[in-house]
Symmetry: C2
Subunit: 203 residues, 2 copies
DNA sequence: TCCAAAAATGTAGTGACTACAACAATGGAA
DNA sequence: TTCCATTGTTGTAGTCACTACATTTTTGGA
């Protein structure tokens, strides 16, 4: 889709605001930064911020798709595949992306910022809820047992929550490659255990 | 514990505010009622409302203890009991209380009010989160496998969420005793199925 | 009857967010 | 190039939840 100069400038403004906001939030914490400060730092009017982002939290959670991953994975998987297998593979892939070189520190910084802010934690719960809804819809497309599908989605969300806590607890901020490998192995062990519980339960 | 007249009057004020607020919220919806209106209706200053309740949502969720039930049940159960059995029995008991004569309509009204309000839904998610934390603590007291305990708590919360949706979907607002019995049977069937999944998975 | 603690009130302010009107930049048509 | 309609941006004014704090009222006890 061709974007005219007008639309390009709009996206540019939006991106500038989002970048400035993210920097400020990571530096000083979400709750300690006001929208007015973000606007001032981005050199736009407060109204302009709200023209692009419906709520302050959207300045932080500005990467769409995170929460759509599991539903997409289910839709793209061949019909005979077991949903739990698909979801485990999807989760494993996402986790490995996060642990890729250089990404880990950034990731932990993001999560720590969330954990420090009641507002961001609330938004994360909302996102997880919406993930459950979209995942349930995707599952409903391939199997008629709605209660079971709903349960699978809820169990996946529960697994994700537990494993993210585990990731934060197990992985050091910075580590030698050897330490990191060892921590990653322990984490993947936990992933396997948790998904084994789901698989056994749903068998 | 003896309460002097002073403390009694304080609790009386608190209760009056809570009652008035609940009535208004159920009548007109949580978001449509301002704290100032609640204060006016209860004939107190706005400040007085906030002296008793830290946030507007606390005016609605004013019954403490319902979210502490599972943790208490675990602590009171004899050590050899399977946690999932204890939690299922606890959940079944709570559910039957809700379905007791006359309680059903009230309960559905409460849930509908929550579902109509983004703020109340957010608070419900927060409550569920805190339930998971306290339940994990209770489980940690009787078993050293923290990851497993954390997982049990998360799975219980997932089950609770799915089953509450089910309850709202399956139970009519008002029904003849026969219809209600039939609906209750279907609901308890769903409860058994969901907890069977947890039990099998965690076996 | 008087005093000190505690409950209730009033005032002033902050910060997210909305409604709305005015303004400015832009793309296209004449 | 000029003009106009669209659209992104801005400024103003206001609402609402919530906080800080000083003041007043109530109350239990000496």
């Amino acid at each position: 889709m061709e974007l005219g100069r007008r639309e390009r400038k709009k996206q540019q403004t939006r991106q500038a605001i989002s970048d400035v906001a993210t920097t400020l939030f990571l530096e000083r914490g979400f709750d300690a930064v006001t929208v007015a400060e973000v606007a001032r730092a981005a050199d736009v009017a407060v109204q302009t911020v709200f023209n692009h982002f419906p709520a302050k939290e959207d300045l932080f959670f500005d990467e769409p798709g995170w929460w759509a991953g599991p539903a997409r994975a289910i839709r793209e998987a061949p019909p005979p595949a077991d949903p739990v297998d698909v979801l485990e593979a999807q989760y494993l892939k996402e986790t490995r992306d996060r642990l890729a070189v250089g990404h880990l520190a950034t990731w932990k910084q993001f999560v720590r910022t969330i954990d420090d802010s009641p507002a961001l934690k609330a938004r994360r719960r909302l996102n997880a809820d919406q993930l459950e809804v979209t995942l349930t819809e995707a599952l409903d497309e391939r199997s008629p047992d709605h209660l079971r599908n709903r349960l699978i989605a809820a169990l996946y969300a529960a697994a994700q929550k537990v494993l993210e806590e585990r990731l934060m607890a197990v992985l050091p901020d910075e580590a030698s490659p050897a330490e990191l490998d060892e921590a990653q192995a322990r984490l993947e062990q936990a992933i396997a255990e948790v998904f084994a519980v789901l698989r056994r339960g749903l068998a």
